[in-house]
Assembly symmetry: C2
Homo-oligomer: 345 residues x 2
């Protein structure tokens, strides 16, 4: 779904700037092979354009970013074969690709000023920099939920605004004028922040945890103090932050749907056919939240939580179809026009 938008953005970028050295950053790369796949697709698009325009060879500098605790060693070990494959496709020695790992939070500066041409981020920006404060009244829930009181919805939204505007400010410093950014993350279509389309997957996990509370396995207070630092914004919330920050023009902004199970098979690199959707969705969500659950509840309850979660998911998926809503936004760094405040007409 995101490929045409990303291809379009990098085509426009290369057509307007044609740098001798193209610098691409993937933010929230994780340790899987998805990032390298996206990078290879982007580079192929540029290389075709370069040949079409009759431009000389180009150097690519690629920065793969994630938090310092990410497993960069695994990515790095896969790079020689990736670089060899790309080199064979583009022509050996013609367009070298230099790849670096950049550990750090993308809610802060990661790169020197005006050093990037293209920023890509896939399914990372719905993660907040921290659990919002003032969630004391979110009892029985673990994220924004339909039973969350207004103060909780406001706290989550405020944290999103703070984080996303910081993200935009940092990238505005780091991108060159005319630089592009294509961001994909979980969002929602409804303006209601507690809409089922974004909250339901966590509400079902909360059901599993509450089941353990009712059995006395998990302490009620421990459950009440657990909240997931994730927010799924609406299109208008995203647009509003981009306009407020002011450095970017919006080229493309839309939502699309992915079935819970299809999303899973994509993210987990599993075969397409599943006999147990509950198992596969639980496995996918487990990969995402297990570290958060362990650090809050300890590891003793993990098997039981996900066993119950899988049971709940299988039951629901047998009765209904559920989709994740994704937002894709493509923006261009504007040329800033300085207005001299002292000059009057």
């Amino acid at each position: 779904m995101t490929k045409p938008v990303a291809d379009d953005a990098i085509t426009n970028l290369y057509s307007s700037i044609s740098p001798k050295s193209l610098v691409i950053a993937d933010l929230g790369c994780s340790s899987g092979s998805n990032s390298l796949f996206v990078i290879s697709e982007l580079i192929k698009v540029v290389d075709e354009l370069r040949q079409k325009f009759g431009h000389p060879s180009l150097e690519y500098q690629v920065f793969l970013n994630d938090l310092p605790g990410n497993d960069f060693n695994t990515i790095f070990k896969s790079l020689p074969s990736f670089q060899e494959k790309m080199s064979n496709q583009l022509g050996v020695g013609v367009c070298p690709i230099f790849i670096s790992g950049v550990p750090g939070s993308f809610y802060g500066r990661l790169f020197p000023s005006k050093s990037l041409h293209f920023v890509h981020s896939s399914y990372s920006l719905h993660w907040l920099s921290q659990v919002p404060e003032q969630l004391e009244n979110n009892k029985g829930n673990i994220c924004v939920a339909c039973t969350s009181p207004p103060i909780v919805l406001r706290a989550y939204h405020a944290q999103f605004q703070k984080d996303f505007s910081m993200f935009l400010r940092c990238r505005a410093e780091e991108l060159v004028v005319g630089g592009r950014m294509v961001l994909t993350f979980l969002g929602r279509r409804s303006e209601d922040p507690s809409s089922k389309e974004c909250c339901y997957i966590w509400e079902l996990l909360a059901l599993a945890l509450n089941d353990l509370v009712s059995k006395g396995i998990v302490d009620e207070e421990t459950m009440n103090s657990f909240n997931i630092p994730q927010y799924s914004p609406s299109l208008s919330e995203v647009k509003s932050e981009v306009l407020k920050e002011g450095s970017f023009s919006i080229d493309h902004l839309e939502t699309f749907e992915i079935n819970w199970i299809a999303y899973d098979s994509e993210v987990m690199n599993l075969p397409d056919v599943f006999f147990d959707g509950g198992y596969s969705v639980a496995k996918c969500i487990r990969a995402v939240v297990e570290p958060l659950l362990i650090s809050h509840f300890g590891d003793a309850i993990i098997e039981e939580v996900f066993c119950k979660y899988r049971e709940i998911l299988s039951d629901r998926l047998s009765k209904e179809t559920n989709n994740f809503i994704s937002i894709i936004v493509s923006v261009t760094k504007k040329r800033m026009i300085m207005i001299d405040q002292d000059v009057h007409p």
Copy 2:
């Protein structure tokens, strides 16, 4: 020993170029804290100069390079505290330091053209890109040794020439005009490539391995086919490659000595006082060559090899003092003058 040379090089660099964003690469960073210490010292020198000159704040981009199998995860986890410490020393937010890891061999291109200001490498360049070919006649030895035949000495020297000239060519592409490079590596003072000052440490390890051969624990043919990809060049060999490549002027070139035990305590971060020099030197060399030994001989013999090696080292160290010879070379990327071959006077 290397600090005054490195400080001098970066002082001259900053005084002549004064970039807004200073890009430093450490090649062969390993996973220890030595690299970050050197980087912090270089940055402090530049920041003092910046303040002295009354220049505005500066951004630092630091690339830490080593082979893809290096443990980058450990370095990356230590970066947040390093960056915080540096930020406190330089003034929070004043001169941000952006750090990346670059996996790959420095005997190939690692960075885009003209993208680096300063290259540093400490105790890595004596490692060759591969074991030289034509070492069939180096029987009983594991590196250049006083009993190595001329063909072996020539093979090692030829591999050094090939590797070091490739290193220089790659860095010449990557450094800006006026960019500096400070390289420290094991070398020798004598023009004789089989001089004791560079070969003795490996000759003693060969004694330990040959002891296992005589006991029937190690197969003679396996021993004969093992060679370490290391070469300790002389000053004139280094100078000759720099002049041949032609992109760099030499600012500083000298040798210095470090006692085997002092070198060990520095490299291994051990306290200064040792009761068993043999133990500490064996431990240090083990950290360096164990992976090579395991991949050739398997891991079953490792304990016995190093037990014997320690015994040999302790005996020799009780009778004599041994030093490693280091070479430090500091160079500047020259401005190339293009001579138009068609113009005749």
